[in-house]
């Protein structure tokens, strides 16, 4: 609320930097289907790329937790991929994976996978040693220890990872649209072209859709966490 008022103030005193909210809304209502279609494209990238990052990140974490040697071998590779500017490798990705959505998904995955991996790994390791003892004495298999103990125990960390990864997946999709050649446009492409044409309304309409997207995802995540992690007192202030 206060944010909105501050916005209008700045918009009116600085008309060439940010437009008034009314103009932004008008720009959306003028051609809702274009925004909607671009939103869908971006959403699809976030869903597929972000979803893959979550699944792959967690799987990698599980493998690294179970096989120390895999951590030694893969962590530097992951690290290297992480610090590689995606902008620079995007053309190589397009060469390798064509003009479809795949390179965009891959860029999104690269940007979003890391928080999931690191947090899940920490969570998988932070198990209660007493329960681990109880399970080891009955020869619980790696799989059983994972499924009964590490998997549920890692969820609080995993959710912290999600909270970081989901905004990054959105950013990743935007970056992918800037840098990876392909068919569909998306909100990110729309924003980048609009910005280069000084089309403030479209730029900020696009940005605001990113924000809404992000806030919706995070709200959904918070609800989900409350349902799934009712047993956890991390993250809640102790009474």
């Amino acid at each position: 609320m206060a944010l909105g008022i501050a916005w209008e103030y700045v918009a009116h005193s600085n008309p060439f930097v940010i437009p008034p909210l009314g103009n932004i809304a008008e720009s959306i209502t003028n051609d809702p289907s274009a925004y909607w279609n671009n939103l869908l494209v971006t959403l699809k990238e976030v869903a597929v790329g972000g979803g893959a990052a979550i699944v792959l990140g967690y799987l990698l974490a599980v493998l690294m937790c179970e096989f120390k040697i895999l951590e030694r071998a893969l962590m530097p590779v992951v690290m290297v991929i992480m610090v590689t500017p995606v902008i620079a490798i995007a053309p190589a990705l397009v060469v390798a994976f064509g003009f479809g959505m795949l390179p965009k998904y891959i860029v999104t995955i690269i940007v979003a996978i890391f928080p999931i991996l690191i947090n899940s790994l920490a969570g998988l390791r932070a198990v209660d040693p007493g329960t681990l003892d109880v399970l080891r004495v009955v020869d619980a298999s790696r799989w059983e220890i994972f499924w009964r103990l590490r998997f549920p125990g890692s969820m609080p960390y995993f959710f912290a990872g999600l909270r970081i990864a989901i905004p990054f997946a959105i950013i990743g999709a935007a970056v992918a649209e800037f840098v990876a050649a392909g068919e569909a446009a998306g909100l990110g492409a729309m924003v980048s072209i609009a910005a280069s044409q000084a089309n403030l309304e479209v730029t900020w309409a696009g940005i605001s859709m990113f924000c809404v997207l992000g806030l919706l995802f995070v709200a959904a995540l918070t609800l989900l966490r409350r349902r799934i992690l009712w047993w956890d007192n991390h993250g809640r202030a102790p009474k």
Binding site: G130, T131, D133, V134, L135, R136, V138, L149, W231, D232
Partner: protein, 268 residues
């Protein structure tokens, strides 16, 4: 699968067990050449000053810690084999319950893993077991809704539920009030008398050790070692009435003296 393991208690044999921990670079000997045999179906209590190495010895027998020297065998098998057969049930010093599982599901946990080793095994009825532990009304509660003592009882039930031939218990009753503790002791006594599992029982209570045990092992500290072993020659089956027998008093005095001696030596 080793049939003897499921039909009665198994023999536990530790030989020359030595364990050192490094504290700021310097190794400290925590267990020094410890020999311990628990005959099949025997109930052995281990008592000794705080920090003398009781938990460490138990963890080595349970295969949770490797000895630096010496060996452990369960019914002649190495520990890893015994573990494979679910030969041992563990009650750790802290309850270590899973916060996302109800009381009932926490107890069921060991039956749900390594299910191959459940074959031919006498799995106890969870609800009955927990009711006999005074937790009949708490089956569907979660650990954080329980008091400390209630949690400890859940941890005991978890070790009993798959009826292992060897029970390893690290101070299981210390968080219980006297009456519950008495009930649990007598429950354990009944339970043991009916199925004769081998038990290694760490306790700080001399009367408790005498009531339950065939032998009481007294450990000394720095380095941890076995100071003396007292055979408890009280008739079986036992019940609360043993507390009143003069023999009981004698054992009590003898073991208390042993303890005192062991601690005095340590202070010199």
């Amino acid at each position: 699968m080793n049939a003897a393991l499921t039909t009665t208690g198994a023999e536990v044999l530790a030989r020359g067990v030595t364990k050192r921990f490094g504290v700021r670079g310097q190794p400290v000997t925590v267990l020094d050449d410890v020999d311990l045999r628990i005959a099949p179906g025997e109930f052995v209590s281990v008592i000794g000053p705080s920090g003398c190495g009781k938990s460490t010895l138990l963890r080595i027998i349970a295969g949770l810690l490797d000895a630096d020297e010496g060996s452990v065998a369960i019914n002649g098998e190495a520990v890893p084999q015994a573990i494979r057969h679910k030969a041992m049930g563990l009650v750790p010093q802290t309850p270590a319950l899973l916060p996302w599982r109800s009381v009932r599901d926490n107890v069921l946990l060991p039956t749900q893993v390594n299910t191959a080793a459940n074959a031919g095994r006498n799995l106890l009825d969870v609800d009955e077991l927990l009711t006999s532990f005074g937790l009949g009304k708490d089956l569907r509660k979660y650990p954080r809704q329980l008091s400390g003592g209630m949690q400890q009882r859940v941890a005991i039930a978890r070790a009993f539920v798959f009826d292992p031939p060897v029970l390893l218990m690290d101070e299981p009753f210390s968080a219980l009030d006297e009456i519950t503790r008495d009930q649990q002791r007598l429950g354990l006594l009944d339970f043991w008398q009916s199925n004769r599992r081998s038990v290694m029982f760490i306790t700080h209570s001399v009367p408790e050790a005498i009531l339950l045990s065939d032998r009481v092992v007294l450990m000394a500290a720095r380095p941890g070692r076995i100071a003396e072993i007292t055979e408890i020659d009280l008739p079986r089956p036992r019940d609360e009435s043993v507390f009143l027998s003069p023999q009981f008093r004698e054992y009590e005095i003898r073991i208390r003296e042993g303890l005192r001696r062991v601690m005095k030596n340590a202070q010199d």
